[in-house]
């Protein structure tokens, strides 16, 4: 009975966050351009050898997603802190978990949109051809991004309210993402034809399990970090 109103609240918050992002396009554009710049820089760092670039492409793509995407999370709380909106937000009726779920949803849409631009860009720059693997790469992106955004939205709820937020968020977030990064890079490389015999099923299972475990754990713990 209380679930339906809270579900509506989740959508309300996600819609509000996305509307703000849409109005302030500058943020999305900046993240996309930063990501594009990183793809270029990785290319320069790895050298012009086409085969070497292709071999490293999956890792480069995921690191670019993680580094550029992590900028979005603190911002998602920054808009709440600007004019004291967070305090008002916390006083609405209903479960505070709907705040987490709403922000998670908005960040998910945001990062997936960045990826939708990033992946074709990487394909061009690194000479990738997905062929049959396109569906697999998309699946890896979605599973990996769910886990990434879950953790990012959760840790930013703490980091964004501290003085050292720029350093603290990556310091807390990135070590937690190691299994996800390993799995995502392996699967993406496999579907891009780099390692045809890789056990992709096992990796996808690991990512799905990671997503479920940490989605439940962060949902359960959110009340402890958002409350004062």
């Amino acid at each position: 009975m209380t679930l339906a109103p809270d579900l509506r609240r989740v959508l309300t918050i996600a819609g509000k966050d996305l509307a703000i992002e849409r109005r302030a396009k500058a943020n999305f554009n900046a993240v996309v351009f930063l990501a594009a710049t990183m793809l270029l820089l990785f290319g320069f760092a790895l050298g012009p050898d086409a085969a070497a670039l292709r071999a490293a492409a999956a890792g480069v793509l995921w690191l670019t997603v993680l580094f550029s995407g992590s900028l979005a999370f603190n911002r998602s709380y920054q808009t709440e802190l600007e004019e004291g909106a967070l305090e008002t937000l916390l006083l609405y009726p209903g479960s505070r978990k709907s705040i987490f779920a709403g922000k998670l949803l908005a960040n998910l849409v945001f990062i997936l949109m960045v990826e939708a631009i990033l992946v074709p860009m990487a394909a061009v720059l690194y000479g990738l051809s997905f062929g049959d693997g396109l569906g697999g790469v998309a699946l890896a992106l979605v599973l990996g991004t769910i886990g990434f955004v879950t953790m990012g939205t959760f840790y930013a709820a703490m980091a964004s309210r501290l003085r050292a937020r720029e350093v603290l968020l990556p310091l807390l977030l990135f070590p937690m993402l190691v299994p996800l990064l390993v799995a995502a890079v392996e699967v993406t490389a496999a579907f891009m034809g780099q390692s045809p015999f890789a056990p992709t099923g096992r990796w996808l299972t690991l990512m799905a399990a990671y997503d479920v475990v940490f989605l439940l754990a962060t949902m359960g713990a959110y009340d402890f970090v958002i409350d004062d």
């Binding site: 109103p5 509506r8 609240r9 509000k16 509307a19 109005r23 004019e83 004291g84 305090e87 009726p93």
Partner: protein
């Protein structure tokens, strides 16, 4: 439950780091009252309002708001309380109407959009912002932002209204608007607490005056009646 006090605090203290913002507040207020809360900067006015709003849990002491225990039953208090703080709590990239729509959707997720938009239009009319409703609030003046925040509070139809320095950055008509809202709330059987420096303006609508001094509450008319004995264990 309707017969319960609107506010009933016993020895409520709140600490920030090492500093005690509240040192033991004991107070009662009933429906239909409008309290004027006076006190210097840093005397604990905002902290007291935030404790009443449930956004801060008391470090010590206990209390009920509208019959529900602070801390344990905060979830039951939240739907009944509205709070207007120093900051208007708006999103600059949304328009005035969108800000109110967000708030209403959070408060009443089940309402139909026609009902909602009708109520919002009425509230904007009341705070004299109907013309600016479709502008982004980033462009609003400080006074306009406060008016919009007041509209949000009106729409909430709370049973306990908490206003923190509501007269700040308002012109004469804004001040009158605040007092109209307070009067209407009181007449509708709600309870209002106004933290302010503006004794004169607040006195027009207040039924009782309290004064906070260094985290302790005094009855303003009767002078220094300390509530310190309410701190658990002081004289025990």
């Amino acid at each position: 439950m309707d017969t319960a006090d609107a506010i009933n605090l016993t020895g409520v203290a709140r600490r920030f780091g090492r500093r005690w913002a509240l040192r033991g507040i004991t107070m009662r207020a009933s429906a239909g009252e409008s309290l004027m809360l006076l006190g210097r900067n840093g005397s604990g006015k905002t902290t007291l309002l935030r404790v009443l709003s449930t956004s801060l849990a008391p470090t010590r002491g206990a209390g009920t708001v509208l019959g529900h225990a602070l801390g344990r039953s905060a979830d039951r208090i939240r739907p009944l309380v509205a709070w207007l703080g120093h900051d208007p709590g708006l999103y600059g990239d949304l328009t005035g109407v969108e800000n109110l729509r967000f708030s209403e959707r959070m408060r009443r997720p089940i309402d139909g959009s026609a009902t909602r938009d009708g109520r919002i239009a009425g509230a904007l009319e009341r705070v004299d912002l109907a013309a600016a409703g479709d502008e982004r609030t980033r462009g609003y003046s400080a006074g306009m932002k406060r008016r919009l925040a007041l509209a949000r509070v009106l729409l909430a139809e709370p049973r306990l209204l908490l206003l923190d320095e509501p007269y700040a950055s308002f012109d004469e008509s804004g001040i009158q608007l605040v007092n109209e809202v307070v009067r209407a709330m009181r007449e509708a059987g709600g309870c209002v607490v106004v933290a302010t420096h503006d004794r004169e303006r607040s006195a027009e609508v207040a039924t009782r005056a309290l004064r906070l001094e260094d985290g302790l509450l005094y009855d303003d008319e009767l002078g220094a009646v300390s509530s310190r004995s309410a701190v658990p264990g002081v004289y025990a």
